[in-house]
């Protein structure tokens, strides 16, 4: 089966995490493209010039914090249609609820075990590769 070429915006400040994600992505996805942003502001300025298929973002960031960043994405008419997947370390019920209220498409926890993490990442990519995008 041939997967679509996904254009992903990844918002992650930790270099190790970026490497981990890249390493985890299975060989079956040949032509994916990851654009990296270290924080919310950087992400917003990138999105001004080029749109992406999905956004994968950590929730733990500051100024803007994760929720603020999501809000500004979802209140922007040009950007609000882009699916957002949260990939973060910890969770609480309040955050999860707020994120879904804002219209996220998924909430994943970075598993400690690398094997578990790999399964999660590849499932997500597989799923979104099957979707159609504008």
């Amino acid at each position: 089966m041939l997967f679509k070429t996904l254009k992903i915006l990844l918002i992650e400040e930790k270099g190790v995490e970026v490497v981990r994600l890249n390493k985890a992505i299975s060989k079956e996805f040949k032509d994916y493209k990851i654009i990296l942003a270290k924080n919310g502001n950087e992400a917003l300025s990138i999105l001004k010039s080029s749109l992406v298929d999905i956004i994968i973002t950590d929730l733990n960031m500051s100024d803007p914090d994760g929720i603020e960043f999501l809000s500004s994405l979802k209140s922007n008419l040009k950007l609000k249609h882009i699916p957002i997947i949260i990939l973060t370390t910890s969770k609480n019920d309040k955050d999860i609820k707020n994120c879904y209220k804002l219209g996220i498409s998924g909430y994943l926890l970075k598993s400690l075990k690398y094997e578990d993490y790999k399964i999660k990442i590849n499932t997500i990519l597989r799923y979104w590769s099957l979707n159609e995008f504008i």
Binding site: V19, N60, S90, K97
Partner: protein, 569 residues
């Protein structure tokens, strides 16, 4: 017709008329006789009645329960009954008494006397009189004018009833009622004291009354309210005195808890001169729960002014005041405590929220590096897999396990810290479904069977919390199973106001001396894989959130049963 015939006819007519007239006369005289007889009878009766009345009156005069006297129109008493004699203290045999001299000088009776003469009677007239022994008494007077046969006013008969006691009782009752009404529900003891001081001064007909409050810290008495010259325009007390307990008459009463009536303060060394010398003083303690909490003190410029009745009334007032003071003080304390409580709650809520946010951040900040370490070590391992020997590979395994344990620990601490947060509204939770789903998700080794004896109820609460609760208990039961065939039994019993759940295993068992400590945070008897030692603390906290209890029964090597209750909402 002849003339003779005419005359004869006329004669006939005359005869007839006379006959009729005679008949009428006869009839009338009979009537007259009858009337006369009747009158005679009535007269006789009347005479009898008068005699009767006279003797009755005589009887009344002698046996009447009230003082009774007859006076002439100038007020000179002509005759008085025995009660009158003893009441007024005069004996007509030895002295002449004029009623006008008996009347209390401040009570004008001229108007009422005029009314008496004018109307012929006066009913229920209240006034004060002075007896021979100079006692002032309140009396109720009924009087009527007696006339002679020519209907000329001759004398006045007077019935006098002593209403002193009755009046005092009523006044005493009135003032107590008044005070009760005005201080009831009053929270401010100063406001209360002002009311009382003026009511008491009014009642005692004096212009000096002061209320003192005992200050336990300084061991003294503070004037908190006053009536009379001691009040300034803005209701402050002029020259406020602070009296050490034991000093003066007031200080003495506060010390002993015994009332004082001073007949002549100029003879009492304890008397503390305030703004003016007054010769009579009455001082009553306000006692609550056996302790003097205040003093009511009144003075009067005349000597020997205060009476036993005053004391009774003041003591009643003091009792009332004690009760109300006490409840006002209690109310004040309670309000203060309530406010402190509310503040504390708010603070607690805030710090709770802060704690949760803090826990959340800490959890993230601790977990992130764990992930990095895990990733980095696994890369080192895979990149150099051929270079490591068995021992090193075992070390990598241990490293992974340690990281996992640490991760679980962080997760559990966060869970524990977040339990108080009410994230979602309480809903009905079908425990039967919830636990069956839970068992499906859990890793249950094949040698362990889980049985649910009775259908589990639907209860109101937070689904996540119930999940955590059962997950921990069932998880423990699985973790500490050491038998060839592990059996875990879940049951519930429905009580009136709560459910009692039990989770029984046939595992390793717990020593009795650990029964309490296992619920404390970071206490794990056997820290195995993925065990943080917080699980039972989480369980206990959830149970207490639902107002339940948790306890256990256990025998080493036989197994353990955890019981807990959940209150029905």
């Amino acid at each position: 017709m002849t003339e003779k015939e005419i005359l004869q006819r006329a004669l006939e007519r005359q005869k007839k008329a006379r006959r009729i007239a005679e008949q009428i006369l006869e009839h009338k005289s009979l009537e007259l006789y009858n009337t006369a007889q009747e009158l005679k009878k009535v007269n006789h009766k009347l005479k009898h009645l008068v005699e009767e009345k006279n003797s009755q009156l005589k009887g009344v005069f002698e046996t009447i329960n009230d003082a009774y006297f007859v006076m002439d129109l100038d007020g000179v008493i002509l005759k008085m009954n025995d009660l009158s004699k003893s009441f007024f203290g005069y004996n007509l045999k030895h002295e002449t008494v004029n009623v006008l001299n008996l009347i209390y000088k401040e009570d004008s009776v001229i108007k009422s006397y005029a009314e008496l003469v004018d109307k012929g009677h006066i009913y229920d007239y209240n006034t004060r009189i002075i007896t021979k022994s100079k006692e002032v008494k309140w009396v109720r007077i009924n009087a009527s004018v007696m006339h002679d046969t020519a209907n000329k006013a001759k004398a006045i008969q007077v019935v006098v009833r002593d209403i002193t006691v009755q009046r005092e009782k009523k006044i005493s009752l009135d003032i107590i009622n008044n005070i009760a009404k005005s201080i009831l529900g009053q929270e401010n003891i100063y406001e209360m004291a002002w009311l009382i001081s003026s009511e008491v001064a009014n009642y005692l007909e004096t212009n000096d009354c002061v209320i003192y409050l005992v200050d336990n810290e300084t061991h003294s008495l503070e004037q908190i309210a006053a009536y009379g010259a001691k009040i300034s325009k803005d209701r402050g007390i002029i020259n406020k005195i602070n009296l050490p307990i034991g000093k003066g008459i007031v200080g003495n009463v506060a010390k002993t808890g015994k009332y004082q009536i001073i007949k002549d303060t100029s003879n009492d060394k304890r008397y503390v001169l305030d703004n003016e010398l007054r010769l009579s003083e009455i001082t009553v303690p306000i006692i609550s729960e056996g302790k003097v909490i205040g003093v009511i003190d009144a003075e009067h410029k005349e000597k020997n002014y205060f009476k036993k009745e005053h004391l009774t009334t003041l003591e009643n007032i003091a009792y009332l005041v004690a009760v109300q003071f006490k409840s006002a003080l209690n109310l004040r304390e309670r309000k203060k405590a309530e406010k402190e409580n509310t503040d504390l709650l708010k603070k607690l809520e805030r710090s709770n929220q802060e704690l949760q946010e803090y826990a959340h951040i800490v959890s993230h900040d601790l977990k992130s590096p764990l992930r990095s370490i895990a990733a980095l070590t696994s890369w080192i391992k895979t990149d150099n897999i051929t270079a490591f020997d068995e021992a090193s590979l075992q070390n990598f395994k241990d490293l992974d396990l340690t990281l996992e344990t640490m991760d679980t620990l962080i997760t559990d601490i966060l869970t524990y810290a977040s339990l108080d947060a009410k994230v979602s509204e309480d809903k009905s939770v079908d425990l039967d479904t919830l636990i069956r789903n839970l068992i499906n998700v859990l890793y249950v080794p094949e040698n362990i069977s889980i049985n649910i004896l009775n259908k589990l109820p639907v209860i109101i609460g937070d689904k996540t919390k119930f999940q955590q609760l059962f997950l921990n208990l069932i998880g423990n039961a699985i973790k500490f199973s050491n038998k060839e065939k592990g059996v875990i039994t879940i049951d519930v019993k429905d009580y009136n106001s709560f459910y009692k759940f039990s989770i029984k295993d046939n595992g390793i068992g717990i020593q009795k001396n650990h029964f309490n400590s296992i619920f404390k945070i970071f206490q794990s008897l056997k820290k195995g894989k993925n065990s943080s030692g917080i699980g039972l603390s989480i369980v206990k906290k959830i149970v207490s959130i639902y107002k339940g209890e948790i306890w256990l029964e256990s025998k080493i090597e036989k197994g353990t049963t955890f019981y807990f209750t959940i209150k029905k909402l």
